[in-house]
């Protein structure tokens, strides 16, 4: 009986490891011929492989899902194999990365500034592996001794502007809010951009828009914290929300929807990111969209061409990586028109000038 029990426990542990290990997926269509020359691997006999690590879930309806979809889209276009590990603890960043390095993956895709230390350590130990750090700092590629790290850096301030301009136009209480997951440079950049754009646009409309201090849930998965933060911020008068906290943002939207339902009309709004999430919740009026797949695709091309590393690839409104998603019918046509005007100003670099 004891042997049987030991066997059962062994099976259980194996199952646990399987659950932690993510999933490897072959290219969506192996027979598909790439449509352009750049999509064809330099070494036609080789199937390139990319692995993504993520501390939030890929099914979180926010950051994790958008980053995973970006990898999948880029991999499908370039004919790469993919795998991922999600919901991993901070203590396991490095272990997960080196596991994929040992398994012969060509590119490690780490979507977040918080992976910087683990990526730099692994990059030093695995000079033949390429590391793409989404939201990595400008200075990070230079810190990699083997020159095998590239930062993919969507402009955090512009992300904040895209949301802040609409928040400044839509707020009626003149109080808006921002929920952060962890205290990252990119999160702070988004908050500052959101705050300054809302204040500027509000002033153009004759309003004095106040942004509540940034709050941090210290987690990307605690949706209950999002609920409580949103309730507390609505108590302070906030009526437009933006966030950078993955599943925590989903919790905030739940609380906003509940308040709107109790009021009988939608008076408190949320702006989602980084993918177009219009329709996911009633309160979402627009999304700030980041085309991370383009950035990941550029990394894949560089790996195939042997030119990867040592650079920062920027994502901006100007090069099309950043944009605003579809606008809800809750936004009056007049405001939507003004918003498009501000977006045009951001694109031609005349916003707030």
């Amino acid at each position: 009986m004891k042997k049987l029990f030991a066997l059962l426990l062994t099976m259980a542990m194996v199952l646990s490891l399987a659950a932690c290990g993510g999933k490897t997926e072959a290219p969506a269509d192996d027979d598909k011929t790439p449509s352009t020359e750049t999509e064809k691997p330099a070494d036609s006999g080789k199937t390139y492989k990319v692995a993504m690590i993520c501390d939030s879930s890929i099914s979180d309806g926010g950051w994790g899902m958008a980053c995973y979809n970006a990898m999948m889209d880029a991999a499908e276009k370039h004919g790469w194999e993919t795998t991922y590990s999600d919901s991993i603890d901070q203590s396991a960043y490095y272990d997960n990365i080196v596991s994929y390095c040992d398994l012969g993956y060509d590119l490690i895709y780490a979507p977040g500034n918080q992976y910087t230390d683990a990526v730099l350590q692994a990059a030093e130990e695995y000079p033949d592996v390429a590391f793409a750090l989404l939201n990595g700092a400008d200075s990070t590629p230079a810190e990699a001794v083997n020159g095998n790290v590239t930062s993919l850096l969507p402009n955090a301030t512009q992300i904040g502007w895209i949301a802040g301009a609409l928040a400044g136009l839509m707020t009626e209480s003149n109080t808006i809010a921002f929920i952060g997951g962890m205290e990252l440079d990119t999160t702070k950049g988004k908050y500052e951009g959101y705050k300054e754009a809302a204040a500027y646009v509000g002033a153009q409309e004759g309003k004095e828009v106040k942004t509540l201090d940034i709050v941090y849930s210290n987690s990307f998965s605690a949706s209950d914290k999002g609920i409580e933060f949103a309730k507390a911020m609505m108590d302070q008068g906030a009526d437009v929300f933006f966030g950078d906290a993955s599943a925590v943002d989903s919790g905030a939207r739940q609380a906003i929807d509940e308040v709107n339902a109790a009021a009988g009309s939608v008076k408190v709004y949320d702006i989602a990111q980084p993918s177009d999430s219009l329709g996911q919740n009633e309160c979402i009026i627009c999304s700030q969209v980041t085309d991370n797949s383009g950035l990941v695709g550029l990394s894949m091309e560089a790996v195939e061409n042997g030119t990867f590393g040592g650079e920062t690839i920027y994502g901006t409104l100007q090069n099309g990586v950043l944009s605003a998603g579809a606008i809800s019918e809750l936004v009056p046509a007049e405001i939507a028109e003004k918003y498009q005007g501000y977006l045009s100003q951001m694109a031609d670099d005349s916003f707030m000038k």
Binding site: A18, V215, E228
Partner: protein
């Protein structure tokens, strides 16, 4: 700090304390039978996922809660068999549950929804006020009526537990097993039976605590949504000095501190947020220091029971 701030803070405290109450009661029943269980986090994780799935499939949050309880019992039988029949180390098996059950939950979620699926949301259990068709306006009515039925169940269970452990023969026998199992056996108490009953209750309550998160609190399931509540509940039992009333106060205290730090962060205006996030931990250290160790837990907790051993 006006009345609105205080009343909203108290309502948030109740919301945040409820899952802790279920988990802490689970630990209390287990420890009162001599089984220290550090695997509550894992039991809650699997209860949360199964509660979410059943609620999604059937459209009934109540069935979700029942399924959460059932899966909690099922998984806890691994722990029960290993620690009661095989006399294995309780801490080790509790930790094994903490590793195994969340991974199993994650595995089931991936199998069911596939990779990269969109955010799945379920309808939550309606509050008593919604069931009665009333809209409470005052703080007292919100506190008393604007809660899902599971909140009332949590408080009813606290009351039942207090009476059961202190006013019933069965409850005293239960406690005796946790204090001195050999002496209990000489009095004709079925020690193994009580320990298994405790494991069933512990598994059910921990599963309900997890299911509460996805059927009454948040509309989504995410890996890691239990967020350390299993360990906080463990601390609440020690903090509450192994009594039902004490456990309730401890859970309300932890819920209050967490709700307070969230609300103070929102109105901080320049004070670093880390300062507020320290509040629950500082408060715990201070209160534990003040309470001291005058009343210890059950004497037989953590020790294997070998019937044949002298």
């Amino acid at each position: 700090m006006d009345w609105e701030f205080i009343s909203n803070l108290l309502l948030a405290s109740v919301r945040m304390a409820t899952p802790l109450i279920f988990l802490a009661l689970a630990e209390l029943y287990s420890q009162r039978a001599g089984l220290v269980h550090i695997g509550l986090e894992g039991l809650a994780a699997i209860g949360s996922l199964v509660g979410f799935l059943v609620s999604l499939i059937t459209g009934s949050p109540l069935l979700g809660v029942a399924a959460g309880a059932a899966v909690g019992i099922l998984v806890n039988m691994i722990y029960a068999y290993a620690t009661i029949n095989l006399c294995a180390e309780q801490i080790v098996y509790g930790m094994a549950i903490n590793i195994f059950a969340p991974a199993l939950a994650s595995f089931i979620y991936r199998v069911y929804f596939g990779a990269g699926s969109e955010l799945v949301q379920v309808a939550l259990m309606r509050s008593l006020a919604a069931i009665l068709g009333v809209t409470p306006q005052s703080f007292l009515l919100k506190l008393l009526l604007d809660q899902p039925p599971m909140v009332y169940l949590a408080y009813a269970l606290v009351l039942f537990t207090a009476v059961y452990f202190n006013r019933t023969k069965s409850g005293l026998n239960f406690k005796a097993v946790g204090e001195y199992p050999k002496a209990s056996a000489t009095l004709g108490i079925n020690v193994i039976g009580v320990k298994y009953a405790a494991s069933v209750i512990c598994g059910a309550l921990a599963g309900i605590g997890g299911a509460y998160l996805t059927t009454c609190y948040a509309t989504t399931y995410t890996d890691g949504n239990v967020a350390g509540r299993g360990f906080i509940a463990l601390a609440a039992v020690i903090f509450g000095r192994w009594s039902a009333g004490g456990v309730l106060l401890a859970c309300l205290f932890f819920g209050f501190c967490d709700a307070l730090q969230i609300r103070l962060q929102v109105g901080s205006y320049g004070i670093p947020y880390q300062f507020f996030q320290m509040i629950p931990y500082i408060a715990t250290v201070v209160v534990l220091a003040l309470i001291g160790m005058k009343k210890a837990g059950p004497k037989g907790v953590g020790k294997p029971y070998l019937r044949e051993e002298r």
